[in-house]
Point group: C2
Chain length 242, copies 2
């Protein structure tokens, strides 16, 4: 029927996510199913499935009388979500260290760190910056994988799906700062040390490092809140009441 052969429900999920992140819907605002269905050119059935899914993801909250509203997040929520990511990534790398990982995977991690080094060392041009964002996301996904635990990995993915808790959430804002390079260097030091700790089976050190690494995001959050112009470069902050 439709020219896109993508499942309608997936299109609905992507569409609503986009609408929420773009800030077109205020937190607390009730979502009209019929209006959304019309706007996204989708029937109500797959749209409803999408809304239920986004509620589980934490982007929507159910209204007692029925239907869903855009969930608003407080500044504390953002802090806690970042803290939680640090805790979970810390657990992943601790388990990796304690239980051991295949040498092949360690090598992949080392190569990723080297690639990040390359990008970090050079001048912060835009193209390289985007490359950094990708590599960074890849590295963090690998950390979750190194745990060897699908349960832990899935949970990290879930928390990371909250947009402001993602490892890349504040990179774009950060790139505008003069302290950009320095901060990236610190992050890179963390990356390198985490891999080394896993290699040496130093679980506690790996865990501590991952937690401290997540604190960088919290630091950038504070900066973004101080400078309104920076906050505008973090679309996920549209959900956060300031």
């Amino acid at each position: 029927m439709s020219e896109t052969q993508q499942p309608q429900s997936l299109r609905a999920v992507l569409g609503v996510r986009e609408l929420i992140f773009s800030g077109s819907m205020r937190p607390g605002e009730r979502l009209s199913e019929v209006a959304l269905a019309k706007q996204l050119e989708v029937s109500r059935t797959p749209l409803r499935a999408a809304l239920a899914r986004l509620e589980q993801e934490g982007l929507l909250e159910p209204i007692p009388s029925g239907g869903f509203a855009v969930r608003g997040f407080s500044q504390d929520d953002v802090i806690d979500a970042i803290e939680l990511r640090g805790v979970l990534e810390g657990t992943a790398v601790r388990l990796a260290a304690e239980r051991g990982v295949q040498p092949a995977k360690i090598q992949i991690a080392q190569r990723l760190v080297a690639a990040l080094d390359e990008v970090t060392g050079n001048s912060p041009e835009e193209t390289l910056f985007e490359k950094y964002v990708d590599l960074n996301a890849e590295f963090h996904a690998l950390l979750a994988d190194l745990s060897g635990s699908p349960i832990v990995q899935k949970e990290i993915e879930r928390v990371t799906r909250l947009p402001f808790a993602s490892p890349s959430a504040f990179l774009d804002a950060q790139s505008q700062l003069t302290s950009f390079r320095a901060s990236l260097q610190v992050g890179q030091a963390h990356h390198r040390a985490i891999v080394e700790a896993i290699e040496l089976r130093e679980g506690s050190r790996a865990e501590s490092l991952a937690r401290e690494h997540a604190r960088l995001a919290r630091q950038n959050l504070a900066l973004a809140i101080e400078h309104q112009d920076l906050a505008k470069r973090v679309p996920a902050l549209a959900l956060v009441a300031i």
Copy 2:
């Protein structure tokens, strides 16, 4: 139409959960929507919503060609889920200690510990045992609440929803063991120490204790696996391939 005024979708969630936990459906088995709908006396629409929800809960897994299957868990998955609960409860009590909690809530925790003491001290009659299970669940729910972080609290609820990761999962099996009383005393010591640590703002100690406390469940898991007769008293283990 139906005599129960409960929403159909809720009935569907409860019904499917019950069917899965009772072990009537083998892991990996595809769920037929029409059959389930007929069995639960619900239309396909709310049933579908229920299946999608249970997938997010982790009880079902999507089949590439469409539909859902009962998710099977390995022994390692159970271990990791318990570990994860320990980590998250540890985070909750650490945050409680670091950030502080209202004295009123501390008092509630202390009263719960006292109530658990009362039950633990006496002879392990059945009625008291059930009381213990309730109080224990209440205590662990309170720990999540003490974090003061809705984000952390929600995440604990989610992990705990995996039946074998719940704080009460192995209590029933444990009650059959001669070492029952001793184990309960150890758990109680943990409970008491955790509350004390929160009171004294000793975050690290509180976190360690909560993690160690979760290890009791892992210990009981090992016992249950050794003794098949015990495993039968843990319905959640129907999902676990042994």
